[in-house]
């Protein structure tokens, strides 16, 4: 009995000691982690619309059953940009993408947040050259071609699947923004 008690006390003491230390560390770090996460997200959004003073969540939507959001970026009271997070179904992963448009829904920029496509192939979607192609495009122009093109999007050779995934994700996002903010789907 005494033996048993000793065991329990011994274990319990370690448990409590560890618990105390852990709680302390957790208390210290959890806010840091939380803040860092918020900051990261804010920074990512801010990058999409640097002039904006305030970026608000305007709604949520689903693509490939993945949760996404869209935002209104305001300077003063004026909406200067719409931003949407979206998903691409890539070669070996779902690609998380951010798209921003100006108020008349022309793409301002896109950014790749995360993916795990093949290094050296699919990961070239992160390259500036590829992302830049989307700038200034409207819904109709967001289409992938495997040949050289100015007004559409040109696929990265050897990574058609990843390129198409990004293009399709962006297109869905712009389509959504068109539905929410556009004047009918086919504007002019």
């Amino acid at each position: 009995m005494r033996e048993m008690l000793k065991i329990v006390i011994s274990l319990f003491a370690i448990f409590v000691g560890a618990g105390l230390i852990l709680s302390y560390v957790y208390a210290k770090t959890s806010t840091v982690i939380y803040n860092a996460q918020v900051r990261e997200k804010e920074a990512a959004l801010k990058k999409m619309s640097p002039e904006a003073e305030k970026i608000n969540v305007a709604g949520k939507w689903l693509l490939y059953e993945k949760p996404n959001e869209y935002y209104e970026a305001k300077k003063g009271n004026k909406v200067i940009s719409y931003i949407a997070s979206t998903t691409g179904k890539g070669y070996s992963s779902y690609i998380k993408i951010l798209v921003s448009t100006d108020p008349d829904l022309k793409i301002k920029a896109i950014d790749i947040l995360s993916h795990s496509e093949t290094p050296g192939l699919g990961d070239e979607i992160e390259k500036k050259d590829f992302k830049k192609q989307f700038e200034g495009k409207v819904l109709e122009n967001i289409e992938l071609l495997k040949v050289e093109t100015k007004d559409k999007i040109q696929a990265i050779s050897g990574a058609t699947i990843s390129s198409r995934a990004v293009t399709k994700g962006v297109k869905e996002a712009v389509k959504l923004l068109n539905e929410k903010y556009g004047k009918g789907l086919s504007k002019e």
Partner: protein, 194 residues
């Protein structure tokens, strides 16, 4: 729903095979594949423990830890669950099915300090899988691990008779071999985006 389950299973067993693409359970993988018999014993034991501890951890995580905001203790608690369960299984098997215990008991002892068992609940938690998904993941991972063990054991049996350069005998050649199998398993990549 069903498709979802299928995808989790295939992905965890083949595409993201614990050994060949996630690098988990390597100590055991190299340790027990010298003989087919041990590899099979290990497969059975591991798969069952993985499935059951996936379920137990899920229950504890979502019924106790999340409501109490104790998510940060998951490492401590999961390893507690795994070792507690293994201890219990050990005792129960010894009493109830001594025959089976005699066969598989030795492997049980190896399990407690093994990363692959702990990885299942941790991944389940970080992927926010529901109970069925967690079970499927545990089963898929177990099946994939078993597949890896059995293939490896059969190849190593043949390799024992081969004329491997001295410096490479044993572990080094096993690593190279695993690399080659992993290379072949790349054939499954790109099948399902994860």
């Amino acid at each position: 729903m069903l498709e979802d389950i299928g995808i989790i299973f295939i992905a965890s067993a083949l595409i993201n095979n614990f050994v060949f693409s996630r690098y988990l359970g390597l100590c055991i993988f190299f340790g027990v594949t010298k003989r087919m018999e041990t590899a099979i014993g290990m497969s059975i034991t591991f798969t069952s423990v993985m499935v059951i501890s996936a379920a137990l951890s899920w229950l504890v995580y979502y019924i106790i830890m999340i409501p109490l905001n104790l998510g940060f203790l998951k490492i401590v608690i999961f390893i507690g669950i795994v070792s507690g369960f293994v201890q219990a299984a050990d005792t129960i098997m010894k009493k109830v099915t001594p025959g089976l215990y005699y066969k598989l008991g030795i492997y049980l002892a190896l399990i407690v300090t093994n990363c692959i068992i702990l990885a299942v609940p941790l991944i389940n938690a970080s992927e926010k899988y529901n109970l069925l998904q967690s079970l499927t993941f545990g089963l898929g991972a177990g099946a994939g691990f078993s597949l890896a063990l059995v293939i490896m054991a059969s190849i190593r049996e043949r390799l024992e008779l081969a004329d491997v350069p001295k410096s490479f005998e044993g572990l080094p050649i096993s690593f190279v071999l695993t690399g080659l199998i992993a290379l072949a398993f790349l054939g499954f990549s790109g099948m399902i985006p994860l």
